[in-house]
Amino acid sequence: MVTIAQVLTWESTTLDTSADNLYALRKQLIDLQDEVDDSRVPGTWYGESATAATKEHSALVDRLRDVTAEVARVAASLDLAGADIKAARTDLEGALDVARQNGLEVDHTTGDVRDPKTYDDEFERLAATVTVMSVTTQLSDALKKATEADADLARALGDASDGTIDGGDGTLSDAGDQLPAGLDGMTDQQIAAKYGQDVVIDSLRAWLGVEAELATWELEGYAEAGYKVMGDGKVVMDLTLEAGLGREIGVGGAEVDASAGGTTNLQLTFKDQAEADKFLDGLAGAAGDLGLLDMGNVPAAVAGNVADYVMKQDITSFKTGVYGKASAEFESAVASGEAEGRVDGYYDWVNEEYGIKVSASADAAVGEKDSGLSGSASLSGEIKFKGDQMSEAVFDGRISAAVANDKLDLGLPASTSTGQAVDVQLKMNEDNPRFEDFKAAVGSGDIDGAIDIAYDDAEVTVRSTTTESYGSEEIDIDAKVAELEIEYGAEGEVANQVWVRQGGQGYWVDIDPKAVR
């Protein structure tokens, strides 16, 4: 295992730079597909020499595919090793900080942790021993992570050197689709858990009307429920509620004024589908738990019951509309976009952040011009702020597979389902190495430039989905993710294929939706 002293000198940025250069080389090699096709033995050429030329051409292309796969595999492995080593070094420095604060001595060669102090008090001695053990474990874990990252990278380099990386027999783009060595041996479920926490696999959206299982919200006239199964198995439920019910729910000191915005939005996160379904099962009973004293004011009593029930859950977001304040609060960030599209603002009482949403209809504001998106293609934008600083930006939309391939070097098959269009989400946040560039572009009103940066370096999720709309009659829905009895409109969406690229990384990971379901 490597030593603390060694890891403290390791430079993950060098690996990132090497990865970027090799990705550029991969692209050069993949772009040779035209030359490969053009140099096929022409169909007009017959005879022994043509046969020999075909054989030689095939062998050359095979070697080219292999070398493309090698470059792609090494680039992706450098990418992942860079991220892992950066994380290991951060963990290591954190543990050394704790050691320093507690007056512990750490041997940077052996990793031994020693407390030079003496204790008369037994309790203090025990507490110090626990601290030593904790720091030792943190250091050991960080070193293990760094050692494994180095070993994975060395394996990829060795495989490339030995010529054991097979580029297959497809296109050069196929050959260039390689995962980092660090993912070797991981199951589909493990990959989905690692890369799928922000990915919606299946979803059900229901507009709740007069008679629904979640009938409590009809009292306020309108409610919308979203049920999403994420790539890591968690379930996120979005409930858009009337302000009247929102008033009953107090989160983070929220004081909801019905006049401030039309709706409130509540987000609950469940660890799995069983827990989410249990919540829904219990909701109707909790809502209808009325006493004699409630008979004079049933709507308020039901709203109160629902609020009490909801408050017991893991509320991961509670947003109230602040549309009236949006233009003032976010004047500089919205820039030219504000005048051209509808902008909604909100405040999230749980996460203590402001946000603005630019609807898809405001195409000009989110980069329709020169963005390569055409026709019905459009992206909606959402930008979040903590204090005065932008903390995250997300763009969503549906674009053609051809545009996705062009913008993202993705190599989607032309036969991608749903009208050859895919759902794309681009996410930029503070962890992204190009977030400052992105913020500068947004701040100056250059949304097109910001989206181009996002296409290059954002965390990207691409989903090929099947959508099914349900009728407006009262029906029972079994959309694989939930059963809801509703009476208005509902829409289910099932992901057929999902591709994920993490922020600042250059390789794509396929997530198998079946591994999550």
Partner: protein, 123 residues
């Protein structure tokens, strides 16, 4: 590589003209030359040299150095082989042209020898 005369292949060129076949072969060689130039100009080894320093004491450094050397040879040899293949194709096309020229000369000579007295009377 042997040279197949388009006139002895038995396919009667399937409706293609002789000139078109030669042009197709030359064109296909151009594609291979272009690929050979791109691969030959690439220098993958330069991106690997810094890994040993970046991960001092790790195992990747030595592996990166070995791969840099291997890739230099592998890229270079692919480029050389691809260009050699392109050259062989052009040689085939040229051989076709030569064969055609020689065949043409033979036919003209035979035609001249077979003309007989009637030809001379026309003069």
């Amino acid at each position: 590589m042997s040279v197949d005369s388009p006139y002895t292949g038995g396919h009667a060129m399937a409706g293609f003209t002789f000139e078109a076949v030669v042009a197709d072969i030359d064109s296909s060689a151009d594609g291979m030359t272009s690929a050979a130039e791109t691969v030959g100009a690439a220098d993958p080894s330069k991106d690997l040299g810094s890994i040993g320093t970046a991960l001092a004491g790790g195992t990747s450094g030595a592996a990166a150095t070995a791969l840099a050397s291997t890739w230099s040879t592998r890229f270079s040899s692919w480029s050389t082989d691809a260009e050699a293949h392109a050259t062989a194709r052009r040689n085939s096309a040229a051989a076709y042209t030569r064969a055609d020229h020689e065949a043409s000369q033979r036919l003209q000579a035979e035609a001249f020898a077979n003309r007989g007295p009637a030809v001379q009377q026309d003069r």
